[in-house]
Symmetry: C2
């Protein structure tokens, strides 16, 4: 495709019909939307929105609570877009009424600052004010688009206009750019919705000033790198600092690069994408190798049981990929989005839909976790929790999951000129705008359980459909109306350019073989190890399925055979793998001369997304490899 | 031997003549003794001893500075015992004069409390008062025994009498047992020197009250486990908390178990020894797996680049072993002492003798260290330093090395009845008390460079010499006067019971083959790995000797051949190993389907004790194993 020619095809154009993502979406609609609402209610987040808190009262507002609420509204709105629900709307309308009452005369809206520190507004770079404002904008747009109700949108517009004046026009804030990015991408959305240039200009201001402003300072527990302010964005070559902030920033950068067709910004995005995906990303699409600053660390630093891998960071990574494929339709972006979505993002939510992980380690060592949990403050090592919980003090991830699942259809298609790009495969029907018209496409698939994807068009005409062949796929067949299509994939897509008649069908069959994956030799702890994948799913072994096996010592042979069978885990249909490995015969000494005495052992693997749903148990993604 | 019948043969009975330990001892005498003195002088430790510090002055006394000084005096005294030195004695005498002046009327002596918080004396369990007192006792005894000068001894006796009255008789202190153990073993030494029962009773009081006293409380950054106060000592089964404190405690426990022939206490010591050595000790004899609380963690937790492995902890482990072999002459104790002394203890001091490590990790990842060093406070992960320094704020390890090297002859022999146990082999001459007489033994060896140990007696008579066959040794020969001695080793010793004539010689030749060692399958990160040893030395590979090799990916085959050659590293003669391994061919992707493409690579290994003497460079002890 021509660079910068991509156009998003939003979830609103798509109706999922069945299968993996439809089931996920329904779970979130039926369970998670209410579960998150109930926890937020219990924890006083909605009460705080009234801005009636006084010292001594419970539920002191927190600097990022507003964002939890508007992100939940955004997610709920995506479901309302597909199916109106008066009870849910009533809940949102009540929250909107509270926000309307709490909004200050000049448009300012932040329950923490208004209530707790009114004198400090726009003075503390890192206190999430603009981050909250960004989520307000996104929530307002989503709710308006779902229901046509304007109140929240008007609240958001009033507040955004204040921010624009204070930051871009008057420069009267104590800082120039937010300590936690998010508003940049929200402003681009708002610009695209309203057509108001000043919103784009404000986004550009925040992007361009970053790393240049003399007003922008770090704060305790952080540095300029932690907030991506160590360099102007066009000079940033490596992913640094807080992973969610970094990736939200890259989203905003990609949005502006696309809008302005700006090569320098686009190249920065590409360089940063390469750094993340070629040097700083787990095989599960998890990013942010340390809880310290919730941040990226350095190249090839991919620890297993202590890595942070925040759910929100992988959501943000997928969001970034979706923007990048509009700049350049390279399959690597959808490969990465899938890696994140199918593994770390879904690890963030329990199979029951009402419990969440913030951190998604790729190994669990229960003895280590319980040891450090038993230690006193000050000599306690932070370890990721090993069971999902209903809500966090900082509960960004649960509503982020709600909005991601509600809009998962965003990841199916994009359009460039007369080409429809089919990125991530999901069973669903789409009405895709192209030029002045539209193309109606039906996608039938049981992906990722099986690798067959059938795309049937209802629309006559000459246009192209580009079907993605994932990088993990080493063998596939493609037929159009039953006839083999011989052209190879380029940059991850097979371009089916032809004259289509209604009822024509392209059937892509991806070989879903189980693969053993090795990591780059520069990753110290992954040398001599393999991870097991099938399609986009990364697998793991849990102690509960492998009692007494000793997962750390299991070695998987080069020619190991894997039996794959669909089974139910906590009521969810999932592929389960079984294989034979070797492990050393047990012995009691701590050290002894090498003997290499091994015995065969059976190994059961489940998709990583399903780990930690059956109690606290050992878990491992990377296994010793044996020749 | 009969249980509890062991008698220590101190370094005073032994004169090292040449070889590995003689060279170490001379280096410390010629370089380290003065280097530590000079650093302590520069950092105001000696000035503090005057107790003239006032708020606003430099060199504010620190709670453990007194112990640094008396530990250095103890170490210096061990050299004076062998060779008087008026300049060195003058230095010590000046320090003793300061202590005499600073000692309070009632005997109290602590430069921190006297100067900074006089009202707080004996109120803060963890502020190292009794730890400092213990080192004062040890230093005073050593200096008296070396020079016959009584002043420091009398200072120590006055202070000890005060402590005895306050703690044991009046119970007027705010706590019963020290937060940092050390005084227990010092009191046993003092009892053995003076014959005064009350010193033994005070040691017993501290040992017996531990884990029972209601007055003993933890403090911020610690808990009862961190100070070994979670259980009465006879009920402690696992090594918990601060590793140096734990092992000093176990020394005191072993001392009392031996003195009182108390089975319950001895069994606790044995159980704790087993827990340490079978589950919580690195192959280098390093203990204390985390810097958090400088402590033991849990079974089989042996991280490589983050482990603490304090030099003092391994010294204390060797001290504990030396006590245990008096209770029960089992070779496992000398095996463990050697493991600690030849590896972690010596890693604590540079080849130049004037720089020190406090922490002794078993892997170095310079990128990781420099990354976290660059992070701001609060989001910085503690990492061990990768270059030794001249002095620490908490500088317990350097003087501990001085005293350990000065008294290394302690580890050669013990006596039980008519049997001389030869534990750790060093070239030297000994006059060993036995019954009413003495046995004169000459030990000629180039151990650990070679495995031949010749023991020649000068003393006619019927007695036994028990020569240790180290656990690492799988093959050996033993001849007495040229005739093979066929009796096997029992519990690690070959008992040569016979009628000896002056000039008789036993020659033990230990096969010093290079061994590959595997760790228990329960140690997660060491599965699939081997360490390389030769005799008591553990080897490591450093980046500087293996440029571009990528040590993390090197795999060592089961049948790898190792060439061993003595070479000089920074002027020190050391065995260096060379072998061939395999590594994966390099590739650029972060993840790819497993290919197992390997190439041969040369690997150079040096003794672990010599690591980090040639700049900051990657280092590894455990290597991937290949069948």
């Amino acid at each position: 495709m021509e660079r910068y020619s991509g156009k998003s095809v939003g979830f609103a154009c798509v109706t999922l019909q069945k299968g993996f993502w439809k089931e996920m979406q329904e779970l979130v609609r039926d369970v998670t939307v209410d579960a998150v609402y109930d926890r937020f209610e219990e924890t006083g987040r909605f009460e705080a929105l009234k801005c009636e808190w006084k010292e001594g009262m419970p539920f002191k507002p927190h600097i990022f609570w507003d964002s939890d609420i508007t992100k939940w509204i955004e997610g709920a709105a995506y479901y309302l877009k597909k199916r109106r629900d008066s009870k849910l709307e009533q809940r949102i309308d009540d929250l909107v009424d509270r926000m309307e009452k709490s909004q200050e005369k000049d448009g300012y809206l932040n329950s923490y600052f208004t209530t707790v520190e009114p004198e400090a507004r726009f003075t503390r770079r890192t206190d999430h004010e603009l981050y909250c404002a960004g989520h307000l904008i996104e929530g307002a747009l989503a709710y308006y688009e779902a229901t046509g109700k304007r109140k929240l949108l008007e609240i958001a517009l009033r507040y955004t206009d204040l921010i624009d004046r204070v930051f871009r026009v008057e420069h009267s804030a104590s800082f120039d750019t937010p300590g936690h990015e998010e508003i940049e991408l929200a402003l681009v959305k708002l610009y695209e919705f309203t057509g108001e240039e000043r919103y784009k200009k404000l986004a550009e201001f925040f992007i361009d000033q970053r790393g240049r402003s003399e007003k922008d300072q770090p704060y305790e527990f952080a540095d300029m790198k932690n907030m991506q302010s160590h360099l102007p964005v066009r000079e940033q070559k490596t992913a640094e600092g807080h992973a969610v902030r970094a990736l939200y920033l890259y989203c905003g950068m990609a949005d502006l690069a696309l809008l302005n067709q700006e090569e320098a910004l686009a190249q920065s995005c590409e360089t940063l994408f390469e750094n993340v995906t070629a040097k700083r990303m787990h095989v599960t699409g998890g990013v942010g190798s340390t809880h310290l600053g919730e941040s990226f660390t350095f190249d090839y630093d991919l620890p297993e049981d202590t890595t942070y891998n925040e759910t929100c960071a992988s959501i943000a990574l997928a969001m970034f990929c979706r923007r990048m494929w509009l700049i350049d339709a390279d399959g690597k972006y959808a490969d990465c989005a899938e890696r994140a979505l199918y593994n770390t993002v879904l690890s963030g939510i329990s199979l029951s839909g009402d419990r969440f992980f913030y951190e998604n380690p790729i190994a669990a060592v229960p003895e280590k976790t319980s040891f450090y949990e038993s230690r006193p403050e000050g000599i306690r090592q932070h370890m990721p929790i090993l069971e999902r919980v209903k809500v966090f003090q900082c509960s960004c991830c649960p509503p982020n999951l709600v909005r991601t699942m509600g809009s998962i259809g965003d990841y199916m298609y994009s359009v460039s000129g007369d080409t429809i790009y089919a990125h991530c495969y999901m069973d669903g029907d789409a009405v895709i705008p192209m030029g002045d018209g539209e193309i109606v496409l039906h996608q039938r698939t049981d992906y990722p359980y099986s690798g067959e994807i059938a795309l049937q068009t209802e629309t006559d005409g000459t246009y192209a459909i580009a079907m993605r062949v994932p990088a993990w796929c080493t063998s596939y067949t493609l037929k159009v109306n039953g006839v083999a299509w011989e052209y190879p994939a380029e940059k991850g897509y097979i371009l089916l350019r032809r004259t289509w008649s209604s009822g024509d069908e392209a059937v892509l069959v991806l070989d879903m073989a189980v693969e053993q994956v090795e990591a780059n030799p520069r990753v110290p702890n992954l040398c001599g190890h393999v991870a097991i994948t099938r399609g986009p799913l990364v697998f793991c072994a849990e102690g509960i399925d492998n009692p007494g096996v000793g997962l750390n010592d299991v070695r998987i042979g080069r020619d190991a055979e894997f039996a794959c069978r669909e089974e139910e885990i906590n009521g969810r249909r999932l592929p389960v793998l079984r294989t034979q490995g070797k492990r050393r015969c047990d012995f009691s000494e701590l050290y002894r001369p090498r003997r290499d005495e091994t015995e065969q052992v059976s190994l059961t693997l489940i998709p990583y997304l399903a780990w930690a749903n059956r109690g606290i148990t050992e878990m491992k993604v990377w296994f010793l490899s044996e020749e």
